[in-house]
Structure formats: C-alpha cells, structure tokens
Symmetry: C2
C-alpha cells in the first residue's frame, strides 16, 4: 500500500469546497498566480479572478453543482505534480439531474516542503483540442 | 498576432532531436528531476533514466520513429506551463508505415527568466485513465 499523496487530499477538499460554495476555503488551494480554465477559450489568472469565476459557475448551475472524483493518476516531476483525473459533475439541467464526467488535468507545485498549491486547473484536459 | 511562446519552440526542437536520435541534445530540454511516462504504468525520473528510455524507444521503433506536432494549447500558471498537444508519431509496423496521434500533456517550468525545462512528459495525456 502507498500513502495518499497530499495533493489527492487537497483535491478532495477543494471539490468539497466547490460543492459547499465555500469560496474563501476554496481559494486556499490555489497559488496567487494560478490559472483556471473556465471553459474552452476562456482562462483567468490570479485568486481574485478565479474566485469571481467560481461564483459565476455556482450561479450558472443554480447553486446545485456537486463535484466529486473518479479515477486519478498522479505524475510527480521536480517540485510539481501533474494530476490526470476523472472529475464527476452533477447539476440540474432543464429540470433533470445531469451527470457529466470530465477528464481533468491539474498542476500542483510544492511551494515549500509539504505545502502544495494548484497552479493550473484545467478540468477540460485534452478536450481543449476539440475546439 | 501573438509571439511564439518559448516552450513551443523547445517542443519542436525536442521532437526534432527525438527523430534525429540526438539524445545528448534531447536531454538539454529536461530538468534534472524530470519524469517521463514511457508507457501507461511505467514512468522514469532523472535525466539518465529518461535518456535510457529514449534509446530503448528508438530501438523498439527500428530507428525510424518520426515525431511532429499537431494542434497545441499552452496554459501558463505561476512559473509553469501546461501544454496540451497533438503528438504525431510515424513508425514502421509489420512492414507498413503507421501513423498515430496522441493527445499529450507536458509540464514546463521556468527555472530562471527565459530558461524553461520540461519537468513532466506524459505523451499519453488523459488516456492514462483507460487502463
């Protein structure tokens, strides 16, 4: 058995914060100069802009977005980790519950020993190339 | 028009070095503590191990592997860049020329101003989750 990587724990906590709409807590997971891919063709950088984007996302999903994790692969290299992960989204659409699985890519950086933050949050993974 | 990001130039030069089997030149593109995903389930870290893996890959493809780039998206965050890219491989298989397109994910880090190195080379992208 291998111990859980700290980044895995952070991702589970961050997804729980998105679901709870606890945006102050959520911002703890991001580096000051992080980038979020909001949707294909639109990225924002910096905590203030990322926070605004999550508020807009919560509104878009009528405050009923639930985010959880499927399969996850972590690839460490240098002081970074590339995460390849199934991101499971549930939300209402046209009155019905909708479930979507994305294949996400995240980059975390170890700012100081044991202190990891997300520098790139791209929940669309390689689907960005579909555009 | 936007200027070409230095990481895009590096990727084109690294792929040319793979095609030319110029492994000394190829190692210039990697950080000392970089990780290469050789195939799903097998990763190696450190320049010496990455070099050995590329020598084995060249042998596997009978010294006729040609690597080039299709569509590419760069997502900068902090001192890193996540690259989402079509990696086009051509090689002989059972006597015929074979062409494969992978959707790769690379992470580059800016070691010092203008000096970028690859810390994670995962040419399998989110297909790692297929296992």
């Amino acid at each position: 058995m291998t111990a859980t990587h700290p980044v895995e724990t952070l991702i589970r906590a961050a997804d729980a914060a998105i679901t709870a709409e606890d945006f102050d807590r959520l911002m703890d997971f991001y580096a000051e100069d992080a980038t979020l891919v909001v949707k294909p063709g639109l990225s924002v950088s910096g905590k203030a802009n990322i926070r605004k984007a999550f508020v807009a996302i919560a509104n878009h999903f009528q405050h009923r977005l639930v985010v959880s994790q499927g399969r996850m692969e972590l690839i460490p290299g240098g002081d970074t980790v590339l995460v390849i992960m199934e991101s499971l989204l549930s939300y209402p659409e046209s009155g019905a519950a909708t479930h979507v699985t994305r294949r996400a890519t995240y980059v975390f950086r170890e700012e100081s020993p044991g202190n990891w933050t997300c520098v790139i949050d791209n929940s669309y993974g390689t689907d960005l190339l579909d555009q």
